[in-house]
């Protein structure tokens, strides 16, 4: 093996299948990947540092920009953490909790649709991309009607919601979800029985349950390795304990198992959305905590208390007592957590985000080393990473 050489090549940061600005340095022996080294940080914006200089309300828009394919979930994780820090978790009105769950599951659908579309496109199945983005567009329109924005929703608030859920939208969501199983059948019809698709993802990117746990993999990527763990069921938040759904676990440990797990998870999300729509009853959307939640415009202009609270919250913010909390939520990509340290001032002393994609990406070398270079594309797709969340 005297003249046996390996070749080192760059994949990314400008590469269509790296889902953003991910650079992989691959050491190749022919077409076999011997070593893969991810280089990240091209999108680093210092969100954690910025958060230390903003009031708790002002941090919320920053969280939209982490996992920008699932902004509502990041919002949810953050507001739950602040609410826990304040000790007002039990005071969130029923309607706000139901709307949160409803939108969180719509977000899961939205995020999984992008995953499916891009994963299939990377591997060469272009048709699914067009279909999945059509449905995603529908969810974006719902997003827009709810929050006024298609991507950076910034809709949840500490204590509840920023605005009431629009009237009549529940019917639109129901009509849309009615069509979803048919759409999912279409995707599966295009992919599941497709020999090329099967060959490209079966027994590719294999990771055992022990390795996945050791490397901190979470979400559908972990459940595809046979670990039965979902925070929605095991540490329920926002009333998830009142919903009936199954945690999808697949035993295959490969890209195929993760594909099957995510598709089933989308069907479970539809079930949760129906239940949330049934639970949606008129009522208050904000907790009765005038020193924390912003008063309505009516109160601000018509009452002296409203004006004072508005002024205090906008100019100074609220001051949680000193302490620290960690809240993790089941983001479409895995566990996203917020660790907040308060020193009693109106700004977080420290906010640490537990990014699901960052930690899942760490498993990539383990999953691709020893396999073909073409499989790297499949593995990046199956990990469902978002660089906005990795680099923060």
């Amino acid at each position: 093996m005297a003249n046996h050489e390996t070749m080192t090549i760059n994949m990314g940061p400008q590469h269509p299948s790296t889902h953003g600005v991910l650079q992989l340095v691959l050491e190749l022996d022919g077409e076999i990947v011997r070593k893969a080294t991810p280089h990240i940080g091209f999108l680093h914006r210092g969100v954690e540092k910025l958060a230390e200089h903003r009031t708790y309300h002002q941090v919320l828009p920053l969280t939209d920009r982490l996992d920008y394919l699932a902004p509502m979930h990041n919002n949810l994780g953050y507001v739950l953490a602040v609410e826990k820090l304040l000790g007002i978790t039990d005071e969130i009105p029923e309607r706000a909790q139901v709307v949160r769950v409803l939108l969180a599951e719509l977000t899961r659908l939205k995020s999984h649709l992008v995953w499916l579309a891009c994963h299939a496109l990377d591997i060469g199945a272009m048709t699914v991309f067009i279909y999945a983005f059509r449905e995603r567009e529908h969810i974006m329109n719902i997003y827009e009607k709810v929050s006024g924005a298609r991507m950076t929703s910034n809709y949840f608030r500490v204590g509840g919601l920023s605005a009431d859920f629009p009237e009549g939208l529940d019917k639109e969501i129901r009509d849309f979800i009615d069509t979803m199983p048919g759409h999912l059948d279409t995707y599966e019809g295009l992919l599941t029985g497709n020999k090329i698709w099967q060959k490209r993802i079966q027994n590719v990117g294999v990771i055992s349950a022990e390795d996945a746990i050791d490397l901190g993999v979470t979400g559908p990527s972990l459940r595809g390795s046979g670990v039965d763990w979902d925070l929605r069921r095991d540490q329920p938040y926002s009333g998830y304990e009142n919903y009936d759904f199954e945690v999808v676990v697949e035993q295959g440990c490969d890209t195929w198992a993760r594909y099957v797990a995510r598709l089933k998870e989308m069907r479970e999300s539809c079930k949760i959305i129906y239940q949330a729509l049934d639970k949606l009853k008129p009522g208050p959307i904000l907790a009765d905590a005038p020193k924390i939640v912003l008063p309505s415009k009516q109160d601000t202009v018509n009452t002296i208390e409203g004006l004072i609270h508005h002024f205090k919250i906008i100019s100074e913010g609220f001051k949680p007592e000193a302490g620290e909390v960690y809240v993790g939520v089941e983001n479409p990509k895995g566990e996203v957590g917020f660790y907040l340290v308060s020193d009693g001032s109106p700004r977080p002393h420290r906010m640490k985000i537990r990014p699901a994609s960052f930690i899942n990406l760490q498993a990539l070398p383990k999953m691709v080393e020893g396999s073909m270079i073409a499989d790297v594309v499949a593995v990046i797709g199956t990990l469902d990473i978002v660089l906005g969340e990795i680099d923060r």
Partner: protein
């Protein structure tokens, strides 16, 4: 095993190493001496089932002694309980042993902690910066690092 039972076992085994136990909003935090962090981590993983390292980060308490805390968020997948372990790190000696041999997750998280907070992890297998360029100077998440950038006056806040 409840979290309280875990804390009791930890105290029984490590005695003086456990500096403090804090309860806040139903979350348990154990503060341990940094010299014993690998032993404590191994015990928590092997003997009481905290097999999942959720997160690891540094917190800067500038003006207090010790200045830094390295924070480990642990999760037990079997019992679905959380535990937070903290280890104080002095400003004069910003080093702590790596736990990447206990939980492989710690590899990148410790790199990030070194990159942004400037805490050195002894025996780390890959001690490079991760988010910032290799030639970056300083550690931005430290409280004395200005938010606008390294060549500006420290931010005084809008209210002061």
């Amino acid at each position: 095993m409840s979290v309280q039972a875990v804390v009791d076992k930890l105290k029984a085994k490590f005695g003086e190493t456990v500096l403090e136990t804090i309860e806040f909003r139903g979350e348990t935090t154990v503060v341990v001496k940094k010299e014993e962090i690998v032993a404590v981590s191994t015990f928590l993983k092997e003997d009481v089932g905290f097999n999942f390292l959720t997160d690891l980060c540094g917190v800067d308490y500038m003006g207090q002694a010790p200045r830094f805390m390295v924070v480990y968020q642990l999760y037990n997948i079997a019992t679905h309980t959380r535990l937070r372990v903290k280890a104080p790190v002095e400003e004069s000696d910003t080093t702590i042993d790596t736990v990447s041999g206990v939980w492989a997750t710690a590899n990148w998280l410790e790199r990030e902690c070194w990159d942004l907070m400037g805490i050195t992890f002894n025996n780390h297998p890959d001690p490079r910066r991760i988010l910032l360029p290799a030639d970056w100077e300083g550690h931005p998440l430290r409280k004395d690092y200005p938010v606008q950038g390294p060549d500006r006056e420290p931010y005084q806040g809008r209210l002061q």
